[in-house]
Amino acid sequence: MTSLPPAAAQTGKKLGLVIDLDTCVGCQACAVSCKEWNTSGYSAPLTDEKPYGDEPMGVWLNRIHSYETGEEDQSRVVHFPRSCLHCEEPACVTVCPTGASYKRAEDGIVLVNPDTCIGCKLCSWACPYGAREYDYDHGVMKKCTLCVDRIYNDNLLEEDRVPACVKACPTSARHFGDLGDPESDVSKLVADRGGYDLMPEMGYKPVNQYLPPRPRRDGASAQPVPVAAKTQEVDASGTTSLDRLFAWVDHKLTR
């Protein structure tokens, strides 16, 4: 059904991701992990075309961009993972003529039913975030499922019941939880760090939130980092025992 679930049917649960643009290093681990899980998961297969040819192309549900932002000493590169935001008012659902694209009442996850999708691609036109990728081979639309087949999967260890991207991120830049519950860890994180919606003016009310990069400390406000003083004893001449050890090794070796 492509009508959005009526308010009465909703549980208030809004499962989603919080993505920390401060710590993301753009390593693509989440994208690869997503591809690996989902190519045999709910959306299987995530077809690749000519994977070893001149112009490889394929379905990925998570794409990592890199942007340069800020000027002078505030200038920086921000890595920016982009996937479905599981919007609260998603036109990708309401435009669907078949009911294949739907939003679940129980947890807000937006899914495509691969058995009823006719591959008209209209939902991908309606999504402002480029979150849906058409599978030319399979003839149906593919999108992030929030790993609906992991997060409720009793066959997995409790700590593994999170989306594959969250599990894979080496810098813990991705967090998963219920953004409808103000007391959840993810909601607190968003409140703490000033998490924000992408293109709020579109009115889709994304559930996923992005945490802004922290401001870079400039020369004047930076605190001196007293690393050496804390961990090493410094003798009168200002050299540490470690420095003396290196000097000794250097001396022995160069002889």
């Binding site: 112009e55 932002t69 435009v95 294949a100 999708c117 992408l198 009115g203």
Partner: protein, 315 residues
């Protein structure tokens, strides 16, 4: 947006078919004299054939055409679904009229009702087609109050060109209808100029800064794309047409779509039967070329907001 031929054929061919249906209904309901019977049957048949070609062509755009019937189910929210439902419903009165006209004179109260239903449904179907595009907030050039009138007027204009040619072929040409057709084409020209003026001057309200949320710290530039090759998003939504190329095509679309057919039809109404028929048939061909260009531009000039993530500054 990528201008897919299946969708260009779908919107132009079914638009002309519905235009022809609606104008024939108007002609009959207004009590204008029409030529002897094969005219009504053939006109209805041609209109239904154009609609069928359009609908068939739209299924080539689908990944799973065998499931197309499912598209009739979500008319509560989806303009595409509404369009599908109305397209099929229109076949009921129009099909009955077509079959009826093979045997009877299709006049009388019940037939009048059928003509009325055909007229209303044809207009509603074209409006739904337009709303598929006009309802998308993601594409500024489509999410515009001009789009529905453009589709309606262009359907009427292409239907008028066909109707005039058919009237000529059946010896029923009449100056009022000829000039009315030319006036409809002139209206098409004006409305396209208005549409282009509005999309050229509208402010681009979405920026790469809002798309990424990084705009507060100064300009945002993409330094690395997520993928070295193409993907579906770039193929489908990354299509761009060069400004100069688009400007040339716009001029050609206006010339072929409206100016030449309007002039040919006007000339045809004041010349002899043979010349008039030749001119009106020429108008059909030229108008089809022009409107295909117009529809190609409708897609090619549309910029999707997702282009912001791929480095566009504003959309």
């Amino acid at each position: 947006m990528h201008p897919a031929y299946s969708v260009i054929i779908f919107t132009t061919s079914s638009g002309a078919g519905y235009g022809l249906l609606a104008l024939l209904a108007c002609l009959i309901l207004s009590g204008q004299p029409v030529p002897e019977n094969p005219f009504v049957t053939i006109t209805l048949g041609l209109a239904l054939a154009l609609i069928s070609v359009g609908l068939l062509s739209s299924t080539f755009h689908l990944g799973r055409p065998e499931r197309a019937w499912r598209a009739f189910s979500q008319w509560r929210t989806s303009w595409l679904s509404r369009e599908g439902v109305l397209a099929v419903v229109t076949f009921v009165p129009a099909g009955l009229l077509f079959l009826g006209s093979l045997v009877f004179e299709v006049s009388g109260f019940l037939w009048t009702l059928a003509w009325l239903a055909t007229l209303v449904l044809a207009i509603a179907t074209v409006a739904c087609t337009a709303m598929i595009y006009a309802s998308l907030k993601t594409i500024r050039q489509w999410h515009s109050p001009w789009v529905v009138p453009v589709y309606l007027v262009l359907a009427a204009a292409s239907g008028a060109v066909l109707l005039v040619a058919l009237l000529h072929l059946f010896g029923g040409q009449n100056a009022t209808i000829g000039f009315a057709a030319s006036a409809t084409l002139a209206a098409g020209l004006l409305i396209k100029l208005g549409y282009w003026h509005s999309i050229d001057h509208a402010k681009k309200t979405h920026t790469i800064g809002a798309a990424t949320g990084l705009g507060g710290k100064g300009p945002v530039r993409q330094v690395a794309s997520p993928h070295s090759g193409e993907n579906f998003i770039m193929k489908e939504m990354g299509y761009k047409v060069a400004r100069r190329h688009a400007a040339k095509l716009r001029r050609l679309a206006l010339l072929f779509g409206f100016v030449v057919p309007a002039a040919a039809i006007a000339l045809g109404t004041v010349s002899g039967a043979l010349i008039g028929t030749i001119l009106s048939l020429g108008a059909v061909v030229v108008c089809a070329i022009g409107l295909s260009m117009e529809r190609w531009l409708f897609f090619a000039e549309a910029q999707h907001v997702v282009s912001l993530y791929y480095g566009a500054e504003a959309a």
